[in-house]
């Protein structure tokens, strides 16, 4: 019971983003919404402002919800291990994504919106083993985002009967792409935090999360998707261990 009260208190004090974080999030949402709605500004070579703005607004809603859920997943997990997340937009990733979008005429979505910094909740972590900020903790915290987006796909699919079909299709596909790109082990993306935190954890979570997203997009039953994703994750985790990690750590002797 004490843990729940403690967690509630942390949530109240440290969960909500600051003004600067919201500002960064808005920049990221506007840029990524433009990328995913690039092909929806009219049909063929005819440019239609009205239709385009409507599609852009729809994309803003989808991207805004997805980014918020992604960020909230990481924050909630962070608070559980007494870290506070600071959202940081990655302008170079956004600009590169926009360049790729223009070159490919919107066919390729490169969604590289942000990373995060971690603050240490000093009083809450007193007495913890490895008291300070460590890479493994950050790696686990980073996983909260893609897992939250997987849950968002499930929620959207459950309530798909009440939502417009085009919205559901776009939201599910966007989250699928976002999960994959966020798991790329390139700083400052979430995948890099997990990779540098623990290679073995990455070897399991990357294939498990990506395969879960693929299975959910393919309309396979939620429980079967989760089971298959774990099986795939374990198989690739073991493969990675026996092929690389086992021999890599035998040392020079």
């Amino acid at each position: 019971m004490a843990e729940i009260i403690d967690y509630k208190d942390k949530f109240k004090r440290y969960f909500w983003p600051t003004r600067n974080e919201y500002l960064g999030m808005i920049v990221a949402v506007l840029a990524v919404a433009f990328i995913i709605s690039f092909r929806d500004w009219g049909s063929g070579s005819v440019f239609a402002w009205g239709e385009g703005l409507l599609n852009y607004a729809e994309a803003i809603v989808i991207v805004g919800i997805s980014f918020w859920v992604f960020d909230a997943g990481q924050r909630l997990w962070g608070l559980a291990i007494n870290y506070r997340l600071r959202y940081k937009v990655w302008s170079m990733g956004l600009l590169f994504g926009l360049i790729v979008c223009f070159i490919t005429n919107g066919s390729l979505w490169l969604i590289l919106p942000s990373g995060f910094l971690v603050e240490h909740l000093t009083a809450y972590r007193l007495g913890w083993f490895r008291y300070g900020i460590n890479m493994f903790g950050q790696g686990l915290m980073a996983l909260g985002g893609p897992i939250a987006c997987l849950l968002l796909i499930i929620v959207i699919k459950i309530f798909s009967f009440a939502l417009p079909a085009a919205f559901v299709e776009k939201a599910v596909f966007f989250n699928f792409i976002f999960i994959i790109t966020s798991m790329i082990p390139f700083p400052p993306l979430a995948g890099s935090k997990t990779y540098f935190g623990s290679k073995m954890a990455y070897a399991f979570t990357m294939p498990a999360i990506v395969s879960a997203a693929i299975l959910l997009v393919l309309d396979i039953n939620i429980f079967l998707s989760a089971f298959l994703a774990i099986v795939i994750g374990v198989c690739l985790w073991l493969t990675y261990y026996f092929v690389f990690e086992q021999t890599a750590w035998q040392g020079p002797g």
């Binding site: 600067n20 974080e21 500002l23 960064g24 920049v27 940081k88 937009v89 990655w90 302008s91 170079m92 600009l95 590169f96 926009l98 360049i99 223009f102 070159i103 005429n105 942000s114 990373g115 995060f116 910094l117 700083p187 400052p188």
Partner: protein
């Protein structure tokens, strides 16, 4: 290997020159070409802002390599005026540098 580390900026500038040509050739129109060079300038502006307290000569070389390649690619493709490309690239650098300086984009660097 030591030689490479001693002159990595030249190698990177050369590689980015080809990257610039490649990007310019892929651009579907002159207008898109201008937008891409503006966005590329903004990336360069961000890099210059991050390096404002350190040496910038290597990054300047890489940037010049890229913009030279891009201008050459646009010239051969007949997509856009070279002068406009250079001006837009410069505007991109200045705009992003100023935005970063004034804290409008609370950004992260790797």
């Amino acid at each position: 290997m030591v030689e490479f580390f001693r002159s990595w900026a030249e190698v990177a500038a050369f590689a980015f020159m080809f990257f610039g040509i490649f990007i310019a050739i892929l651009s579907p129109s002159a207008f898109i070409s201008y937008i891409i060079v503006l966005l590329s300038g903004m990336i360069a502006g961000r890099i210059f802002y991050e390096r404002r307290k350190n040496t910038r000569i290597a990054y300047t070389m890489v940037t010049l390599g890229f913009v030279a390649g891009y201008a050459a690619g646009a010239f051969f493709r007949h997509f856009g005026n070279i002068l406009v490309i250079l001006v837009l690239f410069l505007i991109g650098i200045i705009v992003m540098y100023k935005l970063s300086e004034r804290g409008f984009i609370p950004d992260t660097w790797f």
